[in-house]
């Protein structure tokens, strides 16, 4: 049998495809199947078909809806902060030109740190009475007492606080990608705008950002998806508390499964979470990214 190009291509794709089928697609199928059952948490325990019961249960559940809202809020906080800081950093890098190389190397280091470590570290920095952040704010007079702000114990601000290590970890990623995008902008357009007397702000909002749009879209999608999946960084800081105020979907699903011992309900929640993520992904990939499309 002659090996045509097409057959050869399929042959090369096969191992990766088989792997994804066994370790991603099949688990997803099982997840969806499980979501229709009431399952005993004990291995080999009884399971009974409940149809959409788990779904209606989850949707009526205040915890689930609150966690979904929080996941969205958390994602928006992280992505907005990272974008603003990352763009500022990228612009700073390009103003510095060649001299920015050393800074760029330096800013990369948090990217290599495990989220668990980052979460721990920030928990240590922010912890109520002995945290150094409050102690310093107190010393420079911004706080009346070192325990005035309960970063991780005040339910109204905890979602911002748990986002800090995430922002600290990955703003550098945004900055580096945006910087690389800035380097690829046509210099004559920038030059022409400058000669026409465009002011800095106009330059940024009318020229730079629109030209960078494709790059911006990609980083926002990549980081948005990652932020929506955040788990360890929050778990290690607050475990979802206080009063569930930092419990995002990943945490709720994990706890429903492991702590509350309801795999069926957890599967229904995970299925809905997955569907929303996939919907966002498919829209994003097909409209903006278009990988593999011939340029």
């Amino acid at each position: 049998m002659r090996l045509t190009d097409r057959r050869f291509a399929v042959l090369l794709l096969l191992p990766a495809a088989a792997f994804l089928a066994v370790f991603v697609a099949w688990p997803i199928v099982r997840l969806v199947l499980n979501s229709f059952y009431d399952i005993s948490p004990i291995a080999g325990g009884p399971r009974s078909f409940v149809g959409l019961g788990n779904y209606t249960h989850a949707l009526k559940d205040g915890l689930f809806r609150a966690a979904a809202g929080r996941t969205l809020a958390y994602t928006l906080i992280v992505v907005t902060a990272e974008f603003v800081l990352g763009l500022a950093m990228a612009l700073l890098f390009s103003t510095l030109g060649k001299r920015s190389a050393i800074f760029r190397t330096f800013f990369m280091y948090p990217l290599m740190i495990a989220p668990v470590v980052a979460g721990l570290l920030w928990r240590f920095l922010l912890i109520d009475n002995t945290g150094i952040v409050n102690a310093m704010l107190f010393r420079i007079g911004l706080l009346d007492s070192p325990s005035q702000v309960g970063w991780l114990s005040d339910p109204s601000i905890v979602l911002f606080s748990v986002a800090l290590p995430d922002i600290w970890l990955t703003t550098a990623f945004m900055a580096l990608v945006l910087f690389a995008g800035l380097q690829n902008l046509p210099p004559d357009v920038i030059e022409a705008a400058r000669i026409d007397g465009a002011r800095r702000w106009t330059m940024l909002s009318r020229i730079i950002v629109p030209l960078l749009r494709p790059v911006i879209a990609v980083v926002l999608i990549v980081r948005g998806i990652d932020a929506a999946k955040a788990f360890d960084i929050i778990l290690i800081q607050t475990g979802g508390g206080p009063q569930n105020a930092s419990q995002t979907l990943s945490l709720l699903i994990y706890r429903t499964m492991v702590r509350f011992g309801e795999p069926g309900l957890a599967s229904a929640m995970a299925t809905m979470y997955l569907l929303v993520m996939l919907a966002v992904a498919v829209v994003a990939v097909s409209t903006i990214w278009r990988p593999g499309a011939e340029s």
């Binding site: 090996l3 097409r6 050869f8 291509a9 399929v10 042959l11 090369l12 794709l13 990766a16 495809a17 792997f19 994804l20 370790f23 991603v24 688990p27 997803i28 997840l31 499980n34 950093m89 800074f103 800013f107 990369m108 280091y109 948090p110 990217l111 290599m112 740190i113 495990a114 989220p115 668990v116 470590v117 721990l120 570290l121 240590f124 009475n129 002995t130 102690a135 990608v177 690389a180 995008g181 690829n184 790059v215 990609v218 990549v222 998806i225 999946k229 360890d232 990943s250 699903i253 499964m257 957890a266 995970a270 299925t271 979470y273 993520m277 996939l278 097909s286 990214w289 990988p291 593999g292």
Partner: protein, 261 residues
């Protein structure tokens, strides 16, 4: 700029200096920045804690296995996608990218039973397979970009010289993209080295990795900041050094996909 540098450097610096404090001083009110007594006590404590040295071995084994599997699967797939513009290839990139959007918590639960059926639960190999679900899409994406940069004439010439198709790939194309493979390997390695959720769900005692060991210091013995910071420092410093040495390659990997698109 200097202010930003300080803001970036201080948190980790604080973690480092804290690891040299006595356990009592880590709880001091108000907190101190530099230790009043420099001590290695925390390091000796964590290193003699049961399971900690083993967790380093587990982390390393898992990350190496996962990196190898990732490369072995991603390199041929990415080559097929970039060299032969078939519909299957395009569909495959889409699927691989969509996989990146799947929340690990959703796959983690049923993955437990898959690995259990394969008798791979609580083993580095099992965890490595799970980690590969995270790194494979990224590896395919990165490798595709590297293959695209290789001119097709190179293989044509090799084939004219009598190489088989696989021979041309193995002896001519792969050496050209070896730099790209190194970049991809770094990212696959880091994805596994720093991962927590799968490790939490799929290992218990034998295959426990260090991120879990770090987290355990807060549940088992209350909050032991000295030990936690010491272990976190031990775990992070090798990869930070690795990054600084290989920084140019890493930046190219980070920015490649996004800027090209």
């Amino acid at each position: 700029m200097l202010l930003v540098v300080v803001l970036y450097a201080v948190p980790f610096l604080y973690l480092l200096v804290t690891s040299f404090k006595t356990p009592l001083e880590t709880l001091a009110v108000p907190p101190t920045f530099f230790p009043t007594h420099w001590t290695l006590e925390n390091f000796t404590t964590v290193w003699s804690t049961h399971g900690v040295p083993a967790s380093f071995v587990n982390s390393l084994t898992t990350a190496v296995i996962s990196t190898l599997i990732s490369l072995a699967l991603a390199v041929p797939a990415a080559y097929a996608i970039t060299r032969f513009h078939t519909r299957a290839g395009r569909l495959f990139v889409m699927l691989a990218l969509v996989t990146r959007m799947v929340p690990p918590v959703a796959v983690g639960i049923p993955l437990t039973s898959t690995l259990s059926a394969l008798h791979l639960l609580d083993t580095p190999t099992g965890l490595a397979l799970a980690h590969t679900t995270i790194s494979l899409p990224l590896s395919i994406w990165l490798m595709s970009s590297f293959f695209e940069a290789v001119p097709g004439e190179l293989e044509e010439a090799a084939k004219v010289d009598g190489c088989t198709r696989i021979g041309a790939l193995w002896r001519v194309v792969l050496p050209v993209v070896s730099g790209g493979m190194a970049v991809t390997a770094i990212f696959a390695f880091l994805a596994s080295w720093n991962e927590f959720l799968f490790a939490l769900l799929l290992t218990s005692i034998r295959a426990q990795t260090t991120p879990l060991a770090i987290a355990n210091f807060q549940t088992q013995f209350g909050l032991q900041w000295g030990s936690m910071t010491a272990l976190a420092a031990l775990y992070s410093i090798p990869v930070i050094l690795l990054t600084l040495i290989l920084q140019r390659h890493i930046v190219s990997g980070l920015t490649l996909g996004a800027v090209k698109g």
